[in-house]
Amino acid sequence: MIRAWNWVRGRSGAIVLLVILLAIWEAAVRIFNIPSYLLPAPSDAIVALVNGLGSGILLTHTWVTLLEIMGGFAIAVLTAFVLAFAVTKWRWVEKSVLPLVFALQSVPKVALAPLILTWFGFGITSKLVTVALVAFFPLVVNLIAGIQSADSDRVDMFKALGASEWTIFRKLRLPNATPYIMAGLDIAIVFCIIGAIVAEFVGAQAGLGYLIQASAINLDVSMTFAILIILSALGLVLHAILTVISRRVVFWQGKGLEAITER
């Protein structure tokens, strides 16, 4: 309770600003009589949110989008780990595959969404592929950077014991990469939300992206805002979960480990 209060106090400036902006918005819509199919008042959006949640329609579509995000995320994480293993284990993979991966990084992955739709159809498969594709690159880049960040002195310490590359990977490179991995996961999860919504825009039968398009066609802009609120909340919750996990996993990061070197 006290922690929650401190949290609020630490952000009081932002909260006050938000309330003021919402009040101006609400007032402007009412004073200038802006029609709700152009810009609904915040209160209309809240009403649409409550009604949508009550009827179950928002929850159903949120669930679909969440499944796409989590599924695509999981695929991306697995593929990224396999590639990272291969890159560390075989030099030819590093020489041949890695430059291609870095080159492909610059391709805007969401631009591929229509193509993926053609290949994988309107079902969940095309969404999983798009999400995985979008999340894969920040993950792999961070993972490989992390693995390569192990300092040569510690690598030597293992080598002097006759450790194999695989042992060094498991006992040094991978744990050493966890701060990078956690940062990669955090970036990737936000990308996943974007990927899922874009994939649904391009062609879907369910999901929050599909619902945004449907509500736009019906000129139900209050509903669109209600969905935006849900998407923001989703992003915040997923980010918060990763932050909590990160604090537990990399508790040792930046704790003045090499204090001994600071002379």
Binding site: D153, L161, G162, K255, I260
Partner: protein
């Protein structure tokens, strides 16, 4: 292992690095030395005299360009559990507790874990870290971290201990304390020790024999037998004999006899 064989025999070890633009740089030239089992050797010399290179060659981390090595009578070519190394930095793994850091070699060498864990605890106790086995490296002082590094080098009971300026990064007081502790621990475990340092007094205080090296390329400038009685403590530094021995080392290093000690290494 051959009975009665020297712990370490180095025969005309040379190391040449291929520097940029095809210029070869000699780091170590014709380094020959025989070390008896249980002997404490200190290797002293100015910055860049190749003493750390020599230690890496001994540890099997880099290959010599020429020459041969034997440990206890047997050809020595690469990493071996006969050798334990204490590095300039403790090189602990920050995600592991003190005890688990000491257990790293046990895991790598696939030794029986349960039995070795008891061994590791005993070592931590000897090194005054009994209450810290569950602590993480970042919770320890520099001196304590380096003691964990020493425990890690000793846990699999190697016959030979290589130490690469292990106290170089510590403050003067901690350094003295660690030196005394090292003398206690090394005599207790009867290890053959090769200790690299750039401090003349540290070299004389610890050694049975001091090996003095010349600046690059590193050659042996001379050996100084240290006949100070053991066990020693820091007060031995004030004796006349200690002064004479330090003076011998200093003259081999061609340093001013006025007593100016060597500047600390920048690296």
């Amino acid at each position: 292992m051959t009975m009665g064989a020297p712990a370490i025999e180095l025969h005309e070890i040379s190391k040449t690095y291929a520097a940029s633009k095809g210029v070869a740089v000699d780091a170590v030239v014709d380094f020959s030395l025989t070390v008896a089992p249980g002997e404490f050797i200190t290797l002293v010399g100015p910055s860049g005299c190749g003493k750390s290179t020599m230690l890496k060659i001994l540890g099997g981390l880099i290959n010599a360009t020429r020459g041969s090595m034997r440990l206890h009578g047997e050809e020595h070519t690469g990493p071996t559990p006969e050798i334990g190394i204490v590095y300039q930095q403790p090189l602990l793994l920050p995600w592991r507790t003190v005890l688990d850091n000491v257990m790293v070699p046990v895991e790598v060498l696939k030794l029986p874990k349960e039995q070795m864990r008891a061994e590791a605890r005993k070592l931590l106790e000897v090194l005054g870290l009994a209450d810290f086995e569950k602590s993480y490296p970042h919770q320890l002082s520099g001196g304590m971290q380096q003691r964990v590094g020493i425990a890690r080098a000793l846990v699999y009971d190697p016959a030979i201990l290589l130490m690469d300026e292990p106290f170089g990064a510590l403050d003067a007081m901690t350094r003295d304390q660690m030196t005394v502790e090292l003398m206690r621990v090394s005599s207790r475990f009867g290890k053959t020790v090769v200790f690299v340092t750039h401090s003349i007094s540290e070299a004389v205080l610890l050694a049975d024999r001091v090996v003095v090296m010349t600046p690059r390329p590193g050659r042996i400038a001379g050996l100084v037998e240290v006949d100070l009685p053991r066990p020693r403590d820091l007060s031995v530094v004030n004796t006349e004999r200690f002064g004479q021995l330090a003076e011998q080392v200093r003259s081999l290093l061609h340093l001013d006899a006025s007593g100016a000690s060597m500047a600390p290494e920048g690296a």
